[in-house]
């Protein structure tokens, strides 16, 4: 199965990855060859087979809704690229 240029550009946007114009053909080839590799699974009849999401078929463990962690905002923000007054700063979103 091969992808075309616009599909690869769309995937890159969904994945929030900037791909340079000249690198697009490289990704078209690489992703197409990986999809070729996985395409052999399409020949297998899996009708009625329940998908296995967890190898032990475990379900989500529940716990009481209690506070178990202290607030460590300053500690965690000490490694952030940009903060102010306890907030994480990003480029302006709304004018």
């Amino acid at each position: 199965m091969s992808l075309d240029r616009s599909e690869v550009e769309n995937i890159a946007m969904l994945a929030r990855l900037k791909i340079e114009e000249q690198d697009v053909p490289h990704y078209v080839d690489a992703l197409s060859s990986i999809l070729d590799l996985v395409d052999e699974m399409q020949a297998i009849d899996t009708q009625g087979v329940t998908p296995l999401a967890n190898p032990l078929d475990s379900v989500q463990r529940l716990r009481a809704d209690e506070v178990t962690e202290d607030n460590q905002r300053e500690h965690f923000q000490s490694i952030a690229p940009a903060t102010d007054a306890g907030l994480y700063l990003v480029p302006k979103v709304i004018e």
Binding site: L17, K18, L35, T46, T50, Q72, S78, I79
Partner: protein, 489 residues
């Protein structure tokens, strides 16, 4: 005994006994290993970060603990940690530029438990970026080299840990295994590596790649050392929602059990086309040793083995694409210079911060999970995963342990497969299915091919780590492959 001899040949068990007898202190031992790292890592690049000051402090504390009569079997023994485990106050890079400036604000459960046992952290070892690879070539910090031959790869993704132990830079190390990343480098560096059952070892603080596949485990010289480490690594952790609340046995208790009556299955699919014939011969010879020890051997079939490649290379990238969405330049890690707007910041931060293989897998995963393709790819792969698990369960109705090769070929030259991701993926054929099924698997040294080590893989049923360690230990009582060390350095 000179410190060099001490380090090149010593097991964790021997060092533990030497410390207990007072032959050397943890401070002396730690200095010797730091010196060894200093003199050899220029050639190997096994470490991303050496934590010398912290190691000296921990060693001194371990000696004090021993003096006060509080030492356990691991107290004072040095260890290297794969740089995928968060270590508080120490850079935790995962081999990526995007985390090059990341100092972990908390400690992973695994490293915390080993620290509690009194182990001394020498540093953080190199890996394929975000553990995505089989060669440790995709690290932002450059490739690690194999001490058996510095022209070849050490395997991956835990290649730094394996190279460190094989070269005597550390007696033991931690690794993680999503598709073979403990077992394959252990095989290619002549070490004993164990991937536990999914849920046996806490994933908390272990940077996630494929969350339904990832497991941490030990990389060591012997099965006995792996058992000693697993005793401290394993156990229930309420911080990991997939951790299993099952009691941890003493993994050293069954090591000496005779193998009489043990039923071993050899999957015919593991000995077919694609397997290097010299590796096949070494693995067969290893199995014959187990027969001499009282095991019975029969051929079995795991018919869906081949399908583990497509299933894995959908499921792992899909999980990776969601896990790695957290790297966005907002709260920690790399942020691009002068972003023009929020979207520009996200897309350039990620494009500049991630390497090629990581981008490829994020894109494959994004595609497999995107609207209109979910059923054809992700759901289909999860159905195959069920069939692969069923194959193993059918096999375990007839046999106790499955044996075969860990890898289809010995270590390859650096760069030989770098431009061909699909060729690299095919090297994982014998290890992937074990992760998809969530089973425990081991690699044990079973000989050499053209001077390069190869591994015998042992696969057990769920939570049968003690049985695997027993088989491996008995094998190591009658063979000496695991005692061979490279001429390096």
């Amino acid at each position: 005994m000179s410190t060099d001899t001490l380090m090149n040949n010593s097991t964790l068990k021997q060092l533990s006994e030497g410390l207990a007898r007072g032959e050397y202190s943890s401070v002396e031992l730690t200095e010797a290993y730091l010196k060894r790292i200093d003199s050899t890592d220029g050639d190997l690049n096994a470490f991303i970060t050496v934590t010398a000051d912290q190691a000296r402090t921990q060693a001194a504390a371990a000696d004090e603990r021993r003096a006060s009569g509080q030492a356990g079997p691991l107290t004072g023994v040095p260890i290297a940690h794969k740089d995928i485990f968060c270590t508080q106050g120490v850079r935790t890079s995962c081999g990526s530029k995007i985390l090059d400036n990341f100092t972990a604000p908390y400690e992973s459960t695994v490293t915390h438990k080993l620290q509690d046992a009194g182990m001394v952290m020498l540093g953080k070892t190199n890996l394929d970026e975000f553990a995505m690879g089989s060669s440790t070539e995709s690290s932002f910090y450059g490739p690690t080299r194999n001490p058996w031959n510095t022209e070849v790869i050490p395997g991956g993704s835990s290649g730094g840990s394996a190279a460190a132990v094989a070269s005597g830079q550390a007696p033991v190390a931690t690794g993680t295994d999503t598709g073979g990343s403990i077992r394959q480098p252990a095989a290619l560096c002549n070490l004993t590596g164990l991937k536990p059952t999914y849920g046996r070892v806490s994933r908390w603080g272990m940077i996630a790649y494929g969350s339904s596949l990832d497991q941490g485990g030990p990389i060591a010289r012997t099965a006995e050392d792996a058992a000693l480490l697993l005793n401290s690594m394993a156990g229930f952790d309420h911080k990991d929602s997939t951790s299993k609340d099952i009691a941890v046995p003493d993994y050293t208790a069954d090591l000496d059990k005779p193998l009489d009556g043990l039923r071993i299955g050899l999957p015919k699919e593991y000995f077919g086309e694609g397997l290097n014939s010299d590796i096949a011969a070494r693995v067969q010879a290893g199995v014959q040793e187990l027969e001499k020890l009282g095991a019975t051997v029969k051929e079995i079939s795991l018919p869906r083995t081949r399908l583990s490649i497509p299933a894995y290379y959908i499921i792992a990238p899909a999980e990776a694409s969601t896990n790695l969405s957290r790297f966005d330049g907002v709260r920690f890690g790399y942020r691009c210079e002068n972003p023009t707007d929020l979207l520009d910041m996200y897309t350039r931060t990620r494009a500049e911060g991630f390497g090629e293989e990581v981008k490829r897998r994020i894109m494959v995963g994004t595609y497999a999970l995107s609207a209109g393709y979910y059923d054809a790819y992700y759901n289909k792969a999860q159905q195959l995963r069920r069939l692969i698990k069923d194959d193993f369960q059918n096999a375990f109705a007839e046999v106790d342990v499955i044996a075969g090769p860990t890898t289809p070929s010995p270590a390859w030259k650096l760069g030989a497969k770098s431009n061909d991701p699909v060729a690299m993926y095919l090297e994982d054929i014998y290890t992937l299915s074990v992760n998809l099924a969530g089973l425990p698997g081991m690699s044990v040294p079973c000989g050499q091919v053209d001077g390069l080590p190869v591994g015998l893989q042992l696969i057990g049923n769920y939570f049968a780590e003690a049985q695997l360690l027993n088989v491996a230990h008995q094998y190591q009582q009658v063979t000496d492959w695991h005692q061979q060390t490279p001429a390096f350095g």
